[in-house]
Symmetry: D2
């Protein structure tokens, strides 16, 4: 539980928030500021930046339900050392973002099987959707073998259609 | 034509090569080394790194057919200042790459319309495909208006079905 | 003032906090989470990542005293379009950081002249200093000419020895 | 020796070249193209990009004298798994680079002790120096212990004052 340090307590919203949608489904919301590093010479946010932001959203969503990359890597609880890996993405870049803006990364579970966690993620600025993606992630041991996701995540993520 | 400097002449393969496939279609090939910056703590290449590599492939492909980002940005030839922007991607991450490896980014035109250039891109290591993507790019002026692609690129890229 | 949007209000600590040190000097503190993107295959945080974090600290410090990159770029108030540029850095990497950790970037003004703003920045984890840097930044117009800093920043940053 | 694959042979200059300076000292030269990913909204190359480029120069210099990160990581030859880590940098950003340009990263050994390899690195465009840095690197085992450099590198790098 590497992250349970003092700074974590001092900055309560650092990992975003899990909110209930009107439908009852849970959604993770992470605010992100656009910095120099996120932009390119066109003046817009660089396209691969959205993938970094979505990865932050996924990591913080998992963190808030008790799953930590550092623990997976060291193989806590007798499990093989493992890491989440992206297997497939479908992406639409709808509108550009620019320096200084604040956007929100929204992450929700689309489906969970024994092998694949599918997330729907989008990026919003003031109620306008800038980006959306469907992301399939799998858990692999460091020598490349797929690991079961359902036992580890199923309890937290619950049944999904 | 900012890039026609001495270093460019001294390193002839720096922008990769355009090769003819058995079908007669042309394909751009760019070698890429895996450095520290491309990897993450899992030991694998970070997923968004492949998008940076594909962007290099697209840029060098365009460069070799005479289209330069710097010229587009300054609006050379009376055109509006403009930049290529990714609109849509479908991505599959098949196998991991690791530090020190050399991979090749392959880029070919899938289709070209007045508004959208669709590219098929994949990343290979020693004959094994690690990654593939279909990428829709558009040309937009810096205030966000779509620009016609066909007149500028059509002559170079030729007819495509 | 692009950033004064709804998301900004909803996440009050997003730009960190300015705190008074015992000496009376002000210091900006920004919490940063370590994500996949920040690490490399060694398992440690990639060295250039600290520069990205420090740039976030500088940007948010300036933001909190009313200076915005977007406004500088569009040349608000009749000024030439301009951007902050790093001129010189002295850096010491003391201890590594790792995935999932929360660190704090501390930024304070070391000196301010007509041309150069010198900042002292360090990165801490639970009271342990991981990194420190002295950073000289200048403001240049987009065609490369240095701009006076003192009139714009002097009022906010006050006299410094 | 992961990198001795077919792609490596097909692209002979991919790791740059080691050239003899008039003084007899050896210098490594690596060409680098400026892509979207390297720039920011100011239109200039983002400051931390130069650190990525220098790291590529260091890695390829070491590669050409027979030292490979992948081998160090797996602890080849009975050594502890280890990685090169930057300990200290002094950096001067002299002139900006822009999209599409080709620059060269020059790397030479300034000194080598049992613990620290000091490199002088600079970035040039058409005979103009854009950037220079002095970089101290050390070799650490993955649990953080410093490793001796001289036996491993001394034979290749020769005596230095």
């Amino acid at each position: 539980m590497v992250e349970a340090n003092g700074a974590d307590a001092a900055w309560p919203d650092l990992a975003g928030r899990i909110v209930a949608e009107p439908s009852g489904a849970r959604q993770h919301v992470l605010p992100v500021r656009v910095y120099f590093e996120d932009t390119d010479f066109s003046g817009f946010v660089y396209h691969a930046t959205y993938l970094r932001w979505c990865e932050r959203g996924r990591s913080d969503f998992l963190r808030m339900i008790g799953v930590h990359h550092g623990d997976l890597l060291t193989g806590e609880g007798g499990a093989s050392p493992a890491a989440f890996v992206v297997r497939r993405m479908q992406i639409e870049f709808r509108r550009p973002a620019r320096i200084d803006e604040v956007v929100e990364v929204h992450t929700r579970v689309a489906s969970l099987t024994a092998a694949v966690l599918t997330l729907a993620q989008d990026v919003w600025r003031d109620g306008i959707r800038l980006f959306d993606a469907t992301v399939d992630v799998v858990l692999v041991s460091l020598d490349g073998k797929p690991q079961r996701l359902d036992r580890r995540l199923g309890r937290e993520l619950g049944p999904h259609d």
